[in-house]
Each structure stands twice: as structure tokens, then as C-alpha cells.
Symmetry: C2
């Protein structure tokens, strides 16, 4: 009985690499591929894979949403999520969405194959680092403020954070937004209060680390 694998990644090179790795195994076969999450539900329905290798970051419909859709549809396919960093925010969202495991993109072919077999057996695959991070966040959220909560910022506050993360001073932001400096100061204060950052530097760090700002 061969293991049926579907590949969902927007980078053709990664798909080729995965296909080469999976295809080199006698008991595995690539039964379908997709470049984003839009047609995943359909793809899985047509090809009934045992394991779906799913990239988190994709245009249009990302891996998180696609995973959620699969789980809601009652699919039997196991989802192995591909991510760049082990402590990425996406990891935890994907966990909540119903992913069965994670693979770092810089994984070796052996690790990829091991990951596929692991989730195919019904086990879950997690990184020690990621689990530790999860525990850390849980402990922090039960006690105090909670998550960064960048989405709890109002549109204006998000705009201000974006400008802050571009390196602008309060005066420059006021100029850009055509408002008074006092107004900017209020927004900055709100951003700091909501994010728990002590100063603008920490807020900027948060903006980049959380993926709020593109790198």
C-alpha cells in the first residue's frame, strides 16, 4: 500500500524538491499539487491523499485557512504544515486550525520523509522549540495581558504602528497623516498600551517579529 501525498506550495521549486524527495521513495507517490489554498478542498476530494504537505504562507488562501477548511469538511487527510521558522506565529494558528505536524522548510529530505510517515501513522510532529514557545505563551496568556494582539489595534493605530516600524518620528508621522503631533502621541500611547510594549522600539520589534511588517 503506497502513501498518497499532495503538495500545496506557491513556490514551484519547493514543490519540485518535495516531489523529488517523495517520488524517490518506493512506497510513496505524489497524487496532486496546488499553488495556493483555493483548490485544496477540491484537490483532496479528487485525489484522496493520505498526507497533505501544506505551506503556511501562500497568496489568496493561506495554509491555515486551507487546513481549517479541510478539517471542517471532515477530510481524512493528515496535514503537515511547512513553515520557515519553528517559533512562527503561524505554527500556533495552524495547530488551532487542525494541522497534524510541522516541517521546517530547511529540513533535510530524510526529515521530510520521516515527517510524512509520522503523521501518516496518526502521530503528531512538533518541534521542541515550538512546544516550549507554546507553553510559554500559554503561561503568559493565562496570567496577564495575553497575546500581542496587533489585530486589536484600530485602523489608525495600525497605520501609526506601520509608520513607526518604518522609522518615522512622531513629528514625521503627524506630517504624513496630516494631524497634530499630540494626536500621534495618543495613537502611539494606545499602541504601546495594547501591545504591552514599553517603548516604540519594542513595538517595532513586535511588528516585525509577528509578521505585521513585511521583511
Amino acid at each position: 500500500m503506497t502513501l498518497r501525498v499532495a503538495l500545496v506550495d506557491d513556490e514551484p521549486l519547493i514543490r519540485r524538491g518535495l516531489a523529488a524527495v517523495v517520488g524517490s521513495e518506493p512506497d510513496m507517490a505524489v497524487v496532486g499539487e496546488a499553488g495556493d489554498g483555493t483548490g485544496v478542498l477540491d484537490l483532496v476530494g479528487r485525489t484522496s491523499p493520505d498526507v497533505v504537505l501544506m505551506d503556511v504562507r501562500m497568496p489568496r488562501v493561506d495554509g491555515i485557512a486551507a487546513t481549517r477548511a479541510l478539517v471542517r469538511a471532515g477530510s481524512a487527510a493528515r496535514v503537515l504544515v511547512l513553515t520557515t521558522f519553528a517559533n512562527d506565529d503561524h505554527v500556533f494558528e495552524a495547530l488551532a486550525a487542525g494541522a497534524d505536524g510541522f516541517l521546517l522548510k530547511r529540513s533535510s529530505p530524510e526529515e521530510v520523509l520521516h515527517g510524512i510517515r509520522t503523521v501518516a501513522r496518526g502521530e503528531s510532529l512538533l518541534f521542541p522549540d515550538a512546544v516550549r514557545e507554546l507553553a510559554r505563551r500559554h503561561a503568559r496568556s493565562t496570567g496577564s495581558t495575553g497575546d500581542p494582539g496587533l489585530d486589536r489595534l484600530t485602523p489608525r493605530e495600525q497605520e501609526v504602528l506601520r509608520l513607526m516600524a518604518a522609522g518615522l518620528s512622531n513629528a514625521e508621522m503627524a506630517d504624513r497623516l496630516v494631524v497634530g503631533v499630540e494626536t500621534v502621541r495618543s495613537h502611539v500611547a494606545a499602541v504601546l498600551a495594547k501591545t504591552g510594549a514599553r517603548d516604540r522600539t519594542q513595538a517595532v520589534v513586535l511588528a516585525y517579529r509577528s509578521g505585521f511588517m513585511p521583511v
Copy 2:
């Protein structure tokens, strides 16, 4: 006459994908692979490739430094740099280092092959977006300072920048580094002077945008 190609990328999957793409062409052959820039000079010397596909972001020695080393050594190999974003800072550094062209990581296999043939013919390969960005920066730099120059920072200054980009205050950094606050202030001032940043926030922005800090 077959085109000899060498692959330098720290992600095994990307290497596999490129190898599959290149290997599928009858007139191309992968003659060597490396996981970082440390052994590139040696690799090129041994395998004498026509084209080197080089990732910009790698541990230890990155693609920029490796490209610079190749050019300085008078190698005849053409360098095709792999990058994630077309307007990445690395693109311009790589240009200055002597790269012959750029490929986006999300390129299709056809684009990869076309890129290899293009640089092999001695032409250069650039993205319209990248060229426009280059023109924009040139216009801006002729008036002011120039490049970020994060690699011109001393080890201690780099350490300080890393801590700054983690959100630490001067006092916290002094505590962490077991030195006086005045010392930290000196290092911070040096970082700002060398990078052209106006304040610590801009330095942190630079650290993330340039890839100096992992996201």
C-alpha cells in the same frame, strides 16, 4: 557542450528542486552542491561550473560574500543569485559584489532555466522592479550617505544592535553585557553613525529589513 551548473543553498529542498529542474534538461548538468558559502571557492575550483545558482541568505558565509570571493578570485563562473524578494536589500549588495543576475525563489522551472541560459550567454538578468528600485536608491544616495553597511560594524557593535533589535534599553544592555551604561551608549552611537540611522528605532528597522535580524 553541456552547461555546467553548481548549486549553493542552505535549504536541501530548494537544492533538490533546482537539481530536478536542471537535471531534466539534456544540455545541463549539476556538477556540484554546497549548503553555505564556506566552500564555494573550492567547489568552483574543483568543478568549474559555467553558472553558480547562489542563495543570498545562508548561515556562516552568505551569498554576497561568496560572490565577492568568486569575483576576486577571478573565477569565470557566472553567478545567478536566488532571493525571496525582488526589492530586497541583498539584491543591490549582490549587484555590487559582482552577481550577473537574480532569480526569485518563487520562480517557475521555466524561468529558472531561462535565467541560467541568459547569464551563461554573458547577459545579465534583472527584474524591472529591482531596476526601478535601484534607480530610486541611486537618486537618493547621490544626495546623502549611501549603503547601510551593517557588516562594517565591529563584533561588539553588532552584538549591541542585536540587543537593540530585541527591544532592550541601554541600561538592560549594559546589564546583559556586564559593562557600564556609558559603554553601551558609545556603542549605540557608533551603530547609529555607521548605519546612518537617526535613532535606535531606525537602526532596528534597518536590522530587520536587511536580514541582519531573523524574523
